[in-house]
């Protein structure tokens, strides 16, 4: 079974653009090959040996479990956090609805900073190598995580991707989450900050419609400000809505395509410009 060629169940695949090209070539030339499926079976097994008690004359037994459903994810997120702390890696998790401009912002950010700091990127999408191929062109290391049917990245995917990237110490890791304003808010990846991106074509009341994502983020980028003359979008009203759910948000207003407003954002991303 192979996820890359669509013959498998919709499980997660993690690969670099180079690997994807190699794999496509093997398929094109009919070369026999095996597939490396990252099966998620290396869990810390948390056997909870609670007290069990029998129920009357039936043969069933009740076992107390009392385990948080997100425990596994949260433990792995802690592990990622540990890696980031000890190796001084500044990790950002970019979240937004589809098409707000995450990949464009990443391309511009990477191009501006790559000569001063090491940067690596993890691209999360349900399918395709599109975004990883775009980042690959900028020359920095990138891994694509395809979540299949999944609508968010989880800590395990990031952990696997980090191992593929071999991040240098004192670098920046940018994680582009799957375009979805709901689900990524529930899964801690171990990142320093969630950065929520909203574009001016989306409607200024997004923050109160999807409050959790704005509450979980520490930074809000308002993108595509070059389009403000053409759309009905009140930047101040949008910020007010966002502050209702998160008074501590830091805002950047910019255009990833024209680069207007990019400098303040770049200052913030550079780890030196940060605490």
């Amino acid at each position: 079974m192979c996820d890359t060629c669509g013959c498998g169940e919709g499980t997660t695949t993690i690969q670099t653009p180079g690997e994807a090209r190699e794999h496509a070539k093997m398929h094109a030339e009919g070369i026999e090959h095996s597939h490396n499926h990252d099966h998620e079976h290396d869990h810390d097994h948390n056997h909870s040996h609670g007290h069990s008690h029998d129920h009357g004359n039936s043969h069933t037994t009740t076992i107390d479990v009392e385990t948080d459903v997100l425990r596994e994810n949260n433990l792995l997120a802690e592990r990622n956090r540990g890696i980031f702390e000890t190796r001084k890696i500044f990790a950002l998790n970019l979240v937004s609805s589809p098409g707000s401009g995450k990949t464009t912002l990443l391309e511009k950010t990477v191009e501006a900073l790559r000569d001063d700091v090491s940067i690596a990127v993890i691209e999360g999408d349900q399918q395709s190598m599109q975004d990883a191929d775009r980042i690959d062109k900028t020359g920095v290391d990138v891994v694509q995580v395809n979540t299949g049917k999944g609508c968010h990245l989880d800590a395990k995917m990031v952990n696997d991707a980090i191992q593929k990237l071999e991040l240098p110490d004192e670098s920046i890791l940018m994680i582009e989450n799957v375009g979805n304003l709901v689900c990524p808010s529930l899964f801690d990846l171990g990142e320093h900050h969630k950065v929520v991106i909203i574009s001016v074509t989306e409607g200024q009341d997004k923050p109160v419609k999807y409050p959790t994502m704005f509450a979980e983020s520490s930074v809000c980028v308002i993108n595509k400000i070059d389009l403000l003359p053409y759309v009905d979008f009140d930047v101040e009203a949008c910020k007010d809505y966002a502050r209702q759910v998160n008074p501590d948000l830091t805002f950047f207003e910019l255009s990833a395509t024209t680069s207007e407003g990019m400098d303040a954002w770049l200052e913030w991303v550079k780890p030196a410009g940060n605490d």
């Binding site: 056997h47 009392e66 049917k149 689900c183 209702q244």
Partner: protein, 111 residues
């Protein structure tokens, strides 16, 4: 739809807790109404998941925990229907949830 990964996690936690038994009959979970879970979507995902599991007759027993919160400004305790509720007393978005964010497997029934 993170409900699919939540359903998968629930089944995994249950399987890891079976303590040598080989039949999993039911899983009891407690889920708060502010936990960001669509209850119907979760039930749907769980149904789909159990068909392909080793326990096609497995049942999921959900206890819903209603949302409650305290207003940080005026101190009142109020029921919460959503995570970012407006305080009925002072109109501020300062209600801090005190209950309703649970997402926990409480027990399983095995044979």
């Amino acid at each position: 739809m993170h409900e699919m990964s939540i359903a998968t996690n629930i089944l995994e936690i249950a399987e890891q807790s079976m303590d040598g038994h080989d039949q999993l009959l039911s899983i009891s979970v407690e889920i708060g109404e502010l936990a960001g879970i669509e209850f119907e979507a979760l039930e749907f995902c769980f149904e789909a998941l159990k068909q392909s599991s080793r326990y096609p007759d497995l049942t999921l027993d959900i206890t819903r925990i209603p949302g409650k919160g305290n207003c940080r400004k005026c101190g009142v305790s109020v029921p919460m229907k959503e995570r970012f509720a407006v305080c009925p007393e002072c109109g501020g978005y300062t209600v801090e949830p005190s209950q309703g964010q649970e997402l926990r497997v409480t027990s399983i029934e095995v044979e």
